[in-house]
């Protein structure tokens, strides 16, 4: 087996003095969703690595904000940084996520972030 050549500097160079995810700004193209859109979280295969919590999958929430552009965790965790996408902050009713959540606290919400690949219109 020959030695693998790792590119030791490109990510550090991109982010130095700018920050991450700021260094991916403007690289994700047109956003598919906007603030206020109702979205359902897709249940993509979850082997090896994901930061899309299983308990959110299949649930419907509302986009509150387009937060930043970045490669999805599935890509960036193996240093694949050439396909940034939009990240969205989505708010859910706790009751939507946890069926046994007490009715007394029916207005409680949970807000968290997703890369665009996990969202579909609901």
């Amino acid at each position: 087996m020959s030695k693998i050549q790792h590119d030791r500097t490109h990510h550090a160079k991109m982010a130095t003095g700018i920050g991450d995810p700021q260094c991916f700004k403007g690289k994700a193209g047109k956003a598919k969703f906007k603030e206020g859109d109702r979205v359902r979280i897709k249940d993509l295969p979850d082997i090896f690595y994901s930061r899309t919590m299983t308990y959110t999958r299949g649930a419907v929430g509302t986009v509150t904000k387009l937060v930043y552009e970045s490669p999805a965790a599935e890509d960036e965790a193996w240093d694949n940084t050439d396909k940034p996408e939009w990240f969205y902050s989505v708010v859910f009713r706790q009751k939507e996520l946890w069926p046994e959540y007490p009715d007394l606290y029916a207005k409680d919400t949970l807000e968290t972030e997703f890369p665009e690949r996990y969202l579909e219109s609901a």
């Binding site: 994901s50 299983t54 965790a73």
Partner: protein, 148 residues
């Protein structure tokens, strides 16, 4: 000397028994037809994705970082600065690739430190032989120093 090594080895095998997960069914080397889709998904999930899993209450304690923990953090940041990994690869390795037993069983910065050593080997900056020899050397030096 060798009898104390044997003692340690036997104690080690016993400790490994203690850290086995408390299983509700026998699982060693299952036949393929006993792993259905839901078991497959449960076994291959990312172990950091703990939301919704059953657990017992734990006591929350405010704790200051110890010096070795701060050193570990700085080491890991230097590895990023020098392009050995990015933050997401670090998280993947220290929160998921370590597996369930280590994820739940080791201290937070213990996983950072273990992972920092692991990536040096995985990406061929050091060989495992070099790392093992270095650990052995430091261990012996430490034993000598504490014996004095």
């Amino acid at each position: 000397m060798s009898s104390s090594i044997r003692e340690e080895v036997l104690r080690h095998l016993q400790t490994v028994g203690y850290v086995q997960p408390a299983l509700h069914k026998q699982t060693h080397a299952p036949y393929p037809d006993t792993i259905d889709h839901s078991l497959w998904r449960a076994y291959t999930r990312s172990v950091h994705d703990i939301g919704g899993e059953a657990d017992v209450p734990i006591v929350f304690e405010e704790k200051q970082e110890e010096q070795w923990e701060l050193n570990t953090f700085a080491t890991c940041e230097c590895l990023a600065w020098r392009g050995v990994w990015n933050a997401e690869e670090r998280r993947r390795r220290q929160n998921v690739d370590v597996g369930q037993t280590q994820y739940l069983g080791l201290p937070y910065y213990g996983r950072w430190l273990l992972t920092a050593a692991r990536i040096m080997v995985d990406k061929q900056y050091v060989t495992l032989t070099e790392l093992v020899n270095k650990i052995d050397e430091v261990k012996k030096r430490h034993e000598q120093n504490t014996a004095r």
